[in-house]
Amino acid sequence: MSDYTPLSREQLAQRIADDLPDGSYVNLGIGMPTRLARCLPKGREIILHSENGILGMGPGGDEITDADLINASKEQISLIPGASICDHVVSFTMMRGGHIDITVLGAYQVSADGDLANWDTGTPGAIPAVGGAMDLAVGAKQVWVMMEHTSKKREPKVVERCTLPLTGSKVVDRIYSDLARIDVTPHGLVVRAMVEGLDADTLQELTAAPLRFDPQVTVLRV
């Protein structure tokens, strides 16, 4: 039995933000990924995109003070020097046409070959609402997933095959969970980093798809 502590949401956001390269154009999905906007590494120019026509998004306050400057989660944002505004045709051209370097999305399930389920929990009576998730999933150069490793019921969210409705097929490049960073490769899931104290057997038990382990697996920490 290994003794480990999962990363908090803040730590996970910080860890992902630390991996964003200087000069990259990045879209943050609604929910957990929007936390990254508050912890971008200093000394790097990372240009955040919001689907409602904003390129060069900065942090905003907790209250809505200007409804014409909001992000996809309908939260107040600011514009950084160098920002630009466009309409939805141009904004989704950025998203779908391979112009966004990285999108960081939340997920309900990710499969061993990179299928993503993040728009429909399958709850009976739920109103279907997809937003821009499917456009991003097929169109961003890289899709990074940010999520807890298991559901609230302790069920694995990294699975052999998604049981929930798909957002996109074979679209995920990288999974950041509160336990590990896992890459989706042509040879299956490869663990690159794990939290301190977690061993391979325990991580595999919490994962419903076969894992391979990078011989140079590192510690997932902030």
């Binding site: 400057l69 309908k74 309409d87 939805h88 998203m95 998730a133 097929s169």
Partner: protein, 228 residues
């Protein structure tokens, strides 16, 4: 003389017929033509098909049309309230659960591109978005060079309701920040684009480089003194 300004909101929406397809701008709380929607409530058109990114935004405007039973179908990317603590789409949820409205859920960028195709005189187009998902159910699909595509249909509007910042009498428009969102494509995709603006300004006072929707795409502009 070309003058697209109309004096009142009632005049701006007076000829929207029953059964019209209405493109409604706005994303979250930005760029919503709330006053035009309220004028349409008073005008009385029924059996509408509404295209809007969200299932209304708060109790005023589109939500009132839903509750009054005036909308037959909503074409939409995100009909749920984004933040359950601030239920912006509660009225839609009520009529949807009561089986009183049809919902077509469309990926946001595909909704946009379907309108753009209609505006640009194009026919159906193949897109990889939603391929392999249940949103592609019932649509023609094809694999081209090993990649799966879904055939998407153009989405024209009879009318568009859009909010902009400034207009001149020719209908040239400028928008403020992310209030632009769906405005330009909806003006282009509708037979009759009706635009509410904060200010009607003299012809020539919007610098040509700053016109974001050329007036050729706009039929009517109406000034609303204080937008909600």
């Amino acid at each position: 003389m070309l003058d697209k300004t109309v004096a009142t909101l009632a005049d701006a929406v007076k000829d929207v017929p029953d059964g019209a397809t209405l493109l409604v701008g706005g994303f979250g709380a930005s760029g919503i033509p709330t006053e035009l929607l309220c004028a349409l409530l008073d005008q009385g058109a029924r059996e509408l098909t509404v295209v809007n990114n969200n299932g209304g935004n708060g109790p005023i405007g589109l939500s009132q049309l839903f509750l009054a039973g005036r909308v037959r179908k909503l074409i939409c990317s995100f009909a749920r309230s984004a933040n359950p603590a601030q239920p912006s789409a509660a009225a839609f949820a009520e009529v949807y659960r009561a089986g009183k409205i049809e919902l077509e859920c469309v990926p946001q960028g595909i909704m946009v591109e379907r309108m753009r195709a209609a505006a640009a005189g194009l026919g159906p187009f193949f897109s990889p978005v939603s391929y392999g998902s249940k949103l592609a159910d019932g649509k023609e699909t094809r694999v081209i060079d090993g990649k799966g595509y879904v055939l998407e249909q153009p989405l024209p509007g009879d009318y568009a309701f859009v909010k902009a910042l400034e207009a001149d009498r020719w209908g040239n428009l400028s928008y403020r920040y992310a209030g632009r969102n769906f405005g330009p494509v909806m003006c282009m995709a509708a037979q009759t684009a009706v635009v509410q603006v904060d200010r009607i300004v003299p012809l020539g006072s919007i610098p040509p480089d700053h016109v974001m929707t050329p007036g050729i795409f706009v039929k009517r502009v109406v000034q609303v003194e204080r937008s909600r």
